[in-house]
Amino acid sequence: MSAANSAQYGFSPMRRALRRLGRNPVALASAWLLAAFYLSAIAAGFLAPYHFDDERRDLSYHPPTALHVRDAAGAWHWPFVYTTSASFDRFYRRQFAVDTAKQYPLRFWVKGSHYRILGLVPSDRHLVGVDAPARIYLLGADARGRDLLSRILYGSQVSLSIGLAGVLITFSLGLLIGGLAGYLGGWVDDVIMRLCEMLMMVPGFYLLLALRAAFPPQLSSIAVYWLIVVILSFIGWAGLARVVRGMAASLREREFVTAAKVAGCTPVGIVWGHLIPNMASYTIIAATLSVPGYMLGETALSLLGLGIQDPHASWGNLLSEAMSIGQVQFHPWVLWPGAFISATVMAYNLLGDGLRDAFDPRLEAGRS
């Protein structure tokens, strides 16, 4: 702070907070986990051994494929798999018989189905694979014999991005509307706040269902995707606008807002240039903590069959296979999407917690 030692200038409150965040191992680990999830969602086509709709009905509910390194004779090999064939036992339960006659080594950079990374870069290379007729089900298969890992990877594109898209729209709306309400005050404030209260009066999940019901049940997956984003944002902005309005109303009284007014700034300029930057720390924390809410909203809709439709995958509709106890009992691997959902939600919450500590060091000091 002192000028005498020719201090380093240019450390905004934001940069200092990010520095503190860098010293928080839990938040950092969460950030890396999320980064890994998002990267693998982008590279889903490459990482997934198969296309999300590549089905083998004869291998329905194939358990996770075992990777062997020793053959029947006990000799060591590069990891390989065996082919399996399904049959029914006398209770008409599926049995998978392993055929140890031929080994199919695990191979990298294999040719497979076509895909486009980010919808742009075309390719047909996959990270791992085995030669036909063997199939590799690292996390097992679903009812139609589709690879669960591939479907989880493709599903993450929907489930991970829907939270971000929802938060982006909600926060743009909430910040602008709440900011203007708080800054302008008077009747504008009253009208906007009553509108928010009306939206918040209706329990969220019923509103979600009602809004979804207002649209035809059969829509293309892309249409449903954006529909869910819009519905979730429509529900979400009101709560945020109320908080932002409160903050804007208190910031409005600060002298630097008067100073900006004296300098001739317009109301929108003041909200955008002065109020919102001052709310950035809250906004970043709140946004991080509310992404899971949007993810879970999508999951809930898809779980009920109102969201993303088969054959397209999302973590929600993948998990809908785990809705009966029988499924979980006989094919416990259908719970995998749930594990990914939990991990992502937890990572977001821990990261949000870390951000809160980073932006408010006093809070951190108050804890043990």
């Binding site: 000028a3 240019g10 409150p13 008067t258 900006a260 004296v262 300098a263 001739g264 240039g273």
Partner: protein
């Protein structure tokens, strides 16, 4: 208080009246004050807290809070400020009149760098590239005596010392070369040495840029160093106004005299400074007659009944039934 110069005044305020409407009733914070300032002139507005001096400053820029109403006329360079709105008002603020606030830490946006805040101000008024706006900002920072201006551009308010912050704030106020600067207690939040530097800076700017200034302060020392004319306010009215030297040398109103006596003085020897007994009246229940009479050592029968009006005598004017003897 117009010194009688033939040139048109830059700012002319007539019968300014500011009323706040609250749950407890209407509160008249400023009750019919008039003054005018020419280019390059400095007016010192003096008074205790709550006498209406800051509200007057805010009214000049149409910055009164909701629920406050200003009456009378504020005429700036021939146009009526009270009628301004929209773009004309934005032009008037900043481009014509700048303002310096009391606490530079709260008047600077904590999350934007000094450069960003200055560039934003420039861009709000002129079509300039960011590059040349930064250069202009740097020049102005240099002009207000900021050490290392090019690096201060990227500094955040919390990284600067109090004096540097106030310099930055003054730089922002004069960035658009306004003709009038309203300084509301510009040195109150600073320590004494820095205070002296800022006063020096304001003196220099006034001389270099022919800047007219309204200096709002409770500190008579600051006013004595900067003001040409002074207006002493009490309970929303001017009680004495005129040439600064004349007023300070021979105060005619007992309140002015009391204020001057309350300054600790080295020359008066062991004598402790004398305060004015009592305190500022509740603006909702002003005493009848002269608002100062309950605290006035020279009050006479007339004082609790008749409100004295400003009368001119020599080069000062005062509102008192029983003034201190003149020179």
């Amino acid at each position: 208080m117009n010194t009688g110069a033939p040139q048109a005044a830059l700012l002319e305020v007539r019968d300014l009246e500011i009323t706040f409407f609250s749950d407890r009733g209407a509160l008249t914070a400023v009750d019919g004050i008039s003054f005018s300032i020419g280019a390059g002139e400095t007016l010192g507005l003096v008074g205790e807290s709550g006498c209406g001096k800051s509200v007057t400053g805010a009214a000049l820029l149409k910055l009164l809070p909701r629920g406050a109403k200003a009456g009378g006329s504020i005429c700036y360079a021939g146009s009526e400020v009270t009628q301004l709105s929209g773009q004309a008002l934005q032009r008037f603020r900043g481009k014509e009149v700048g303002m310096v606030f009391q606490d530079p830490l709260s008047a600077l946006n904590p999350v934007l760098s000094i450069g960003e805040q200055m560039v934003e101000t420039l861009k709000a008024h002129e079509v300039v590239s960011s590059q040349s706006a930064r250069l202009r900002a740097q020049e102005v920072l240099d002009a207000v005596g900021m050490p290392d201006p090019s690096r201060v551009l990227s500094a955040y308010p919390h990284e600067l010392s109090g004096g540097m912050r106030q310099r930055a704030l003054i730089a922002m106020a004069i960035l658009l070369r306004p003709k009038l600067l309203i300084a509301d207690e510009p040195t109150t939040a600073l320590d004494v040495t820095v205070q002296a530097q800022i006063i020096e800076l304001l003196q220099r700017l006034r001389a270099e840029q022919r800047l007219a200034m309204i200096l709002i302060s409770h500190d008579l020392g600051v006013v004595a160093q900067l003001a040409d004319i002074v207006a002493v306010m009490y309970a929303g009215r001017f009680v004495e106004t005129g040439d600064m030297r004349a007023v300070f040398k021979h105060p005619r109103h007992p309140y002015t005299a009391g204020l001057l006596r309350s300054i600790p003085s080295l020359t008066r020897g062991a004598d402790l400074s004398q305060g004015i007994p009592g305190s500022v009246p509740d603006p909702l229940h002003l005493p009848l007659g002269c608002a100062f009479h309950p605290r006035c050592p020279r009050a006479i029968d007339q004082c609790p009944t008749v409100i004295p009006s400003l009368i001119a005598q020599g080069i000062t004017r005062f509102a008192c039934h029983n003034p201190e003897p003149g020179s």
